[in-house]
Amino acid sequence: MALNPDCVGRTYAPAGSYLVGREKVRLFALAIGVESPIFRDLEAARASGYADLVAPPTLAVILALQSSRVVVRDPELGLDYSRVVHGEQRFAYARPIVAGDELVVTTSIESIRTAAGNDMITTRGDIASLDGEPVVTTWSLLVARGAEADA
């Protein structure tokens, strides 16, 4: 069940782009309860100098999930997704995501290691605009529980 260590450093090209919709931003803001009008009110966002509604910072998870899905589906990696839990998540922001952004994610495998019978893989997603402007970098640590951990 060990992961294929040769996959470290592997890079996956963006699988299509993601267009950040204004109503998605409103829905996400509602779901996490943020109250600042720059996440919900177009006039307020523009008055604060933004082109459109500002996405709450953790909306980047939508792209992080897309990014890690690309990795777990790589048959050469040998990851059993039914055993995977999300261990850690980190974001580094170049600027806030705003509604209207069309984003692409380039994914790479930063590390693979084994500890206490569990496989751990760190994936990195570089989220950028269509013209290559970096927006957010995301790191996800996925932990695949070892079969013996069930005993």
């Binding site: 998605k24 829905l27 996400f28 509602l30 779901a31 996490i32 309860g33 943020v34 109250e35 600042s36 720059i38 604060s48 500002v54 709450p56 910072p57 953790t58 998870v61 939508i62 999930l65 839990v85 999300h86 261990g87 850690e88 998540q89 980190r90 974001f91 580094a92 922001y93 600027r95 806030p96 790191w139 640590l141």
Partner: protein, 140 residues
């Protein structure tokens, strides 16, 4: 007013917040985030895989904890970095009371480049649910 670097020192505590998380919140977050993993809404499957009950999305816990920082910052552009480790699930019972998530945060370091490091603590029923939860913010 957004906080200013000159007004902040190491040890400064951000306003603490308590968030109530109910099953309805999990459904709403599933739709907003696109994470439809059944352990976040189906008690039967959750208990079958060994969980005590339905659990909140780790990313929802992460998002709520971030609010303590972003509500304080006002301008989200000031958030440079944010990361957490998911150490314990937030169990969400099928009732109106849900689970209560308590989040506090304080400034742990100030750097010469105008950034501040903030340690975030999130707990549910007295047990911490996030580890190494840290934000880096840029203050004017």
């Amino acid at each position: 007013m957004s906080p200013r670097l000159a007004d902040v020192e190491v040890g400064h505590e951000l306003p603490t917040q308590t968030f109530r998380v109910t099953r309805a919140d999990l459904i709403r977050y599933a739709g907003a985030s696109g994470d439809f993993n059944v352990i976040h809404w189906n008690q039967r499957i959750a208990t079958e895989v060994g969980l005590p009950d339905v659990i909140a999305h780790g990313m929802l816990t992460m998002a709520l904890a971030a609010r303590v920082v972003t509500d304080w910052l006002e301008d989200p552009a000031a958030l440079v970095e944010y990361g957490v480790r998911f150490t314990r699930p937030v169990v969400v019972p099928d009732d109106d009371a849900g689970a209560l998530l308590q989040v506090s945060a304080k400034v742990t370091a100030l750097a010469e480049d105008g950034t501040a490091q903030i340690a975030v603590t999130a707990s549910c029923e007295g047990a911490t649910v996030l580890g190494r939860a840290q934000a880096v913010v840029r203050l004017a």
